[in-house]
């Protein structure tokens, strides 16, 4: 109820905000495609990832928006920028592909975008437009719902408590596997980036 009222008061603003952030995301993605300098690509990717994080707020996934900002923008993108700086004597060096190959790549990307967009719009149309114009969570939720999230009085949306309950219940095994994977990745990345190089220098006399 609380959330529904808030979203109703936000309704005149929300479309503009959505189009603003979606536009920034699309322009950033196009910049990644069209830019030929790797540093500019990284900055455009920063804009896209940040805009997608803000779009998660429209989808009521606040925790995921925070994760997107912390892990993607604060972690992965910084890692990529470090990679750019470590693997280039001149960060503004240009590595261009021939024009026919570039046009072919853009054509394939455009075809894939049109195909997935067409499939998505067709799916929404097949489900009935009226039922999905508004989020079902707000529209269909019973007001005397028994399943209130702890700490959020009267709000029928999912919170961090639901995510935690699922992580330690239904998704406990994937969580453990993700932890093991991160350990393996940490060891493997250190080994690949450093250990092999020492081996290579020791055996550098071979042709």
């Amino acid at each position: 109820m609380l959330l529904a009222q808030q979203s109703q008061t936000l309704e005149p603003v929300a479309p503009w905000l959505f189009y603003l952030f979606a536009g920034v995301a699309v322009l950033g993605a196009l910049g990644v495609v069209l830019s030929q300098q790797i540093v500019r690509m990284a900055v455009f990717l920063l804009f896209t990832l940040g805009s997608v994080a803000f779009l998660y707020f429209f989808l009521e996934a606040e925790f995921l928006a925070a994760i997107q900002l912390i892990v993607y923008v604060g972690g992965t993108l910084i890692l990529i920028i470090f990679g750019v700086m470590l693997t280039s004597k001149n960060p503004f060096v240009r590595l261009t592909v021939p024009v026919p190959q570039r046009l072919l790549g853009w054509g394939i990307g455009l075809a894939l975008a049109l195909m997935t967009g067409f499939l998505g719009v067709k799916y929404v149309a097949s489900q009935g437009a009226a039922a999905h114009d508004s989020p079902s969570l707000i529209a269909d939720a019973p007001h005397d719902s028994q399943s209130l999230i702890v700490g959020v009085q009267g709000a029928e949306h999912y919170g961090v408590a639901d995510l935690g309950r699922n992580l330690l219940g239904k998704y406990a095994l994937p969580l453990e596997l993700a932890g093991v994977l991160l350990l393996v990745v940490m060891i493997g990345a250190a080994y690949i980036a450093k250990g092999r190089h020492a081996d290579f220098e020791e055996g550098g006399a071979q042709p």
Binding site: I38, T48, Y72, L79, I80, G109, V124, L163, I192
Partner: protein
């Protein structure tokens, strides 16, 4: 009113841009950025479908809202971080061998 199709269209555009980035870059890190774009497009789809088509049904049946799409998106973010770390380690090794990041030079395994 913003509907599911808006998010699906945005996700399709991001996916197409990611695929075009992978296909048109010679810099290995640029290709990694294309992969990140595609993973983000998939995440937008998962979160949007979770809100519009999945979570409400569980609430209507009296259960807690379903968050399976959010869980998948979280695991995808973790996997993307791990994949970026490993890929950058491989690129650093590649750069140490060839003194360039141009993938056209990676022909040692060509059959």
């Amino acid at each position: 009113m913003i509907g599911l199709s808006h998010f699906l269209a945005l996700s399709a555009i991001l996916f197409g841009c990611g695929a075009a980035t992978i296909l048109t870059k010679r810099n290995a890190i640029g290709i990694l950025m294309g992969v990140e774009l595609i993973l983000n497009a998939a995440n937008v789809n998962l979160v949007a479908f979770n809100l519009y088509n999945w979570a409400g049904e569980a609430v209507a049946q009296g259960a807690a809202p379903a968050v399976d799409g959010l869980m998948f998106a979280m695991f995808i973010i973790v996997l993307a971080a791990a994949e970026a770390a490993i890929a950058l380690a491989i690129f650093l090794n590649f750069y140490n061998h060839f003194s360039t990041i141009d993938i056209e030079r990676a022909r040692m395994l060509r059959g």
